[in-house]
């Protein structure tokens, strides 16, 4: 069996599924996310930490275990960002431009890893959100890439409509703040540049997941070994090694940087390269004091210290006014819960059926950079939808049953009667009342005018009223609930409706 072809087959499939999952179709996304995201390292780790022993968190343990056996296969088989880089390498480097052995700047990824973990423990997810490979890929897939797909879709709709074909429909992109677009296109550019210039160098210098799995892979059971008797030092393997971890001069392969792509085995004419069991050689490599590595290491270590000393929790939520705190989706339970889970992959943003979910930039403070929030100017949270919780891989938005979701209060409504059309003009409006799905807004008749009134017990804060309200600025607004609560279920008073009028044969006119 050709392991390289197997790798290509699996990774292509995984990549296509990932792209599909991020294209926003509710059915496809919810189906795919359950299986696909089970094996994403950071989301699974967060699930594991926060919901001890929960089945969903076990994906992370399985990955760790598998890495102990097979090395960093995650990076080549399952990581969408890794596969994306492989595609870039394939397209932009082809087979003409050969890879070469790269010096290892081990300290940089390790410092970044430590920094990421330390800041996360201290309560700031800024590095997790920025660097987690799955989330980084998610933002690329959900914003620039999805925009492109929707643009093509809408072009096709325009053509089809000329022929009265309404099979496709116009799809609207969710609102993307410029800052978020900059970040996602910027990270796309960085990853692209890294992959074109030096293969998988991003995974081996910046990615914290890569760094962690690299440490594990030092001790992995299976690894790539050069048979010193057979090798003719033809450098075929070095030329195809994207990670640049084959040192032909020493006939060594650095297992901590190897991403298990199996290219080298495929390239070796002399079968001098083998993927086999070998006990780990516990050496941390030779310390070669060169000016370059000294500089890099010093920068990394001092960066870690500085960042740890730096007030990382700029503008924390506690200091915010209630009105400023973003509204979080049903299932995220409380702002505190949401802050400890979300990695800003924006899958929920992409799947949201009403486009009410938008990425925030710094609204949660620096420590919650790029997390999603509900923006009722963009839409409202559909009463009959719980898609975001179904797809969330980290448990930041817990999957709620539809009946639970319908009673989850994510915000509190308030009506400013000084702005409301009905109270100001004494003319009927009812835009909020007809949108309200929970009977929280009800009419009160005073002198032949129906005035809207609010019963907070039934309000779930879905924002249908705020979205519908025709006044500018809105007369009816929803503010977030820091801790979600349960609304009362509306039970209509005994009906006065006659169910059938079979006996009544006449007309009232």
């Amino acid at each position: 069996m050709n392991l390289k072809k197997l790798r290509i087959t699996i990774s292509t499939t995984v990549f296509i599924l990932f792209v599909l999952a991020f294209q926003g179709d509710e059915k496809i996304s919810t189906t795919l996310s359950n299986t696909l995201l089970y094996f994403q390292f950071t989301p699974s780790l967060l699930q594991f930490i926060h919901s001890r022993g929960h089945l969903l968190g076990l994906g992370f343990l399985l990955l760790l275990l598998a890495s102990f056996i097979f090395g960093r296969f995650y990076c080549s088989f399952l990581c969408p960002l890794g596969i994306l880089q492989d595609i870039f390498i394939r397209i932009f480097r082809g087979s003409r431009k050969r890879h070469a052995f790269q010096r290892s700047y081990r300290l940089v990824p390790y410092c970044l890893l430590v920094l990421t973990v330390v800041t996360a423990i201290l309560g700031s997810f800024v590095l997790v959100n920025l660097l987690d490979p799955y989330s980084l890929f998610g933002r690329i897939a959900a914003h620039p890439f999805k925009s492109l797909v929707l643009w093509i879709n809408n072009m096709m709709v325009n053509v089809f409509e000329q022929f009265d074909i309404y099979a496709l429909m116009v799809r609207k992109q969710h609102y993307i703040p410029f800052s978020i677009l900059t970040v996602s296109i910027g990270s796309f550019g960085i990853v692209l540049a890294f992959s074109i210039i030096s293969g998988r160098a991003y995974c081996n210098t910046i990615c914290p997941v890569g760094a962690l799995l690299g440490i594990v892979s030092r001790f992995s059971l299976f690894r790539f070994v050069i048979d010193k008797k057979k090798c003719r030092s033809c450098r075929s393997c070095e030329g195809v090694c994207k990670a640049g971890c084959i040192d032909i001069d020493r006939l060594e392969i650095d297992p901590s940087r190897c991403v298990a792509c199996f290219n080298c085995i495929d390239a070796c004419q002399k079968t001098a390269l083998n993927y086999q069991t070998q006990l780990a050689i516990l050496s941390w490599g030779r310390w070669v004091p060169s000016k370059r590595s000294f500089l890099v290491s010093t920068a990394a270590v001092s960066g870690t210290f500085l960042a740890a000393l730096f007030p990382i929790r700029l503008s924390p939520l506690e200091a915010m006014q209630r009105r400023q705190i973003p509204i979080i989706p049903p299932g995220s339970n409380s702002t505190a819960h949401f802050m400890q889970h979300c990695t800003a992959c924006h899958l929920c943003v992409s799947v949201c059926t009403t486009n009410v979910m938008v990425p925030a930039y710094l609204e949660y403070g620096v420590c919650g950079i790029m997390r999603p929030k509900l923006n009722y100017l963009q839409g409202h949270c559909d009463f009959d939808c719980n898609a975001c919780g179904q797809v969330c891989p980290t448990g930041a938005i817990a999957p709620l049953l539809l009946q639970e979701k319908k009673l989850t209060q994510i915000g509190t409504v308030s009506l400013n009667k000084a702005k409301c059309i009905v109270y100001v003009k004494k003319k009927h409006c009812g835009a909020c009342g007809e949108a309200c799905p929970t009977h929280a807004i009800f009419p009160v008749e005073k002198g032949l005018v129906l005035f809207p009134e609010i019963d907070l017990d039934y309000c779930i804060g879905c924002g249908a009223c705020e979205h519908a309200c025709p006044t500018k600025p809105k007369a009816i607004t929803v503010t977030s609930k820091i801790v979600h609560s349960k609304a009362q279920k509306y039970v209509p008073s005994a009906s006065t409706v006659q169910p059938a009028e079979k006996s009544n044969k006449g007309f009232p006119f």
């Binding site: 009403t354 009410v356 559909d382 007809e434 009977h439 009800f442 129906l450 169910p499 059938a500 009232p508």
Partner: protein, 321 residues
């Protein structure tokens, strides 16, 4: 296409037989009661009635009867014409809630249009929620998308501004200009198919209110003067036919509705080309005097139609009665 038309024809033939039988009974009965004009209603020989009311049947059977009493669909739809059927699909709710037009009725109307030789029949609605994606949910949940498609209609989208064109309404008191769906401007025949239901803030939602679903900015109505705007729009366009579905009538918690328990099974269908008259009659079916529903009065005052039902030529029919 010919296959479907053959089917329709055979179905219509069957319906005709049934109706002939029914009218036969009605004729006999009416002679006994001394009201022979009902006899002529079936052939519409005494001129088109202003309003037809049918009761106690399934939605499709009632429509078959009503359109027959109106003189047949061929009177409204000519061969090769394009028809727009505009039901109320404003909420993503099941037909049992009574928030959306009965899908069986829509299907039956579409079939009749094709039976009369229509080239194309479009069905669309600009749903109540302007949030993205709600329109598709409404089309699906209400069952209308499916039903209309099965009868051969083109279910067109109404949830994008690009389909709407700006128009001015001469004589309007509040709604001087608005954006109207291009299908309303392009279609040869415009059939309005509202459902009669309770409305928290206008008391009733019937035919005139249903026309809010052909404009883009519904909220403009709300911010100007809801009822005056509803009446004003009829100055721009009066549907060629208004078919009010009063099969299941939502009595409370409108327009969105609550549970099927708040729905009264009235099994009534009203057809008229006078949008004000049909609203006045429907309001009475609901159990409310039309004077209370402000836009009906405003429509009457603007000479859009006649809300005084006693001045109208009304044909009534009770199926099986």
């Amino acid at each position: 296409m010919p296959v479907i038309m053959n089917k329709l024809n055979s179905k219509e033939r069957r319906e005709f037989l049934k109706k002939s039988l029914a009218t036969g009974v009605a004729v006999g009965g009416s002679f006994l009661w001394g009201t022979p004009e009902i006899l002529f209603a079936k052939a519409a020989s005494s001129g088109t009635p202003d309003l037809v009311a049918v009761k106690n049947g399934e939605p499709d059977a009632m429509f078959n009867q009503a359109i027959f009493m109106m003189g047949g669909m061929k009177k409204f739809v000519k061969k090769g014409q394009t028809v727009l059927v505009k039901p109320n699909i404003s909420f993503a709710r099941k037909p049992e809630i009574g928030a959306t037009t009965n899908p069986l009725l829509v299907k039956s109307i579409v079939a009749h249009c094709f039976g009369a030789g229509a080239k194309k029949v479009y069905v669309f609605d600009n749903v109540a929620s302007s949030s993205y994606g709600m329109a598709q949910k409404c089309y699906k949940e209400s069952g209308i998308g499916e039903a209309a498609k099965s009868a051969g209609a083109l279910v067109a989208p109404g949830d994008n501004e690009k389909y709407y064109q700006k128009v001015t309404i001469p004589g309007a008191k509040a709604l001087v200009s608005t954006e109207v769906h291009e299908l309303v401007l392009e279609a040869d025949v415009f059939i309005n198919v509202p459902i009669l239901k309770n409305h928290h803030y206008t008391y009733q939602s019937i035919a005139m209110k249903n026309l809010m679903g052909v404009v883009w900015d519904r909220m403009k109505y709300h911010s100007l003067d809801l009822e005056q705007s509803i009446a004003d729009f009829c100055l721009f366009k009066k549907p060629d036919l208004n078919i009010v579905d009063a099969y299941r009538v939502m009595q409370r918690f409108g327009p969105r509705g609550s549970t099927p328990e708040n729905v009264a099974l009235k099994k009534t269908l009203l057809v008229s080309n006078d949008i004000v008259a049909v609203d006045a009659a429907a309001s009475k079916v609901y159990g409310m005097e039309p004077e209370k529903v402000r836009y009906i009065q405003l429509g009457h005052d603007l000479n859009i139609g006649n809300m005084n039902l006693n001045e109208l030529n009304i044909r009534r029919h009770v199926i099986g009665g």
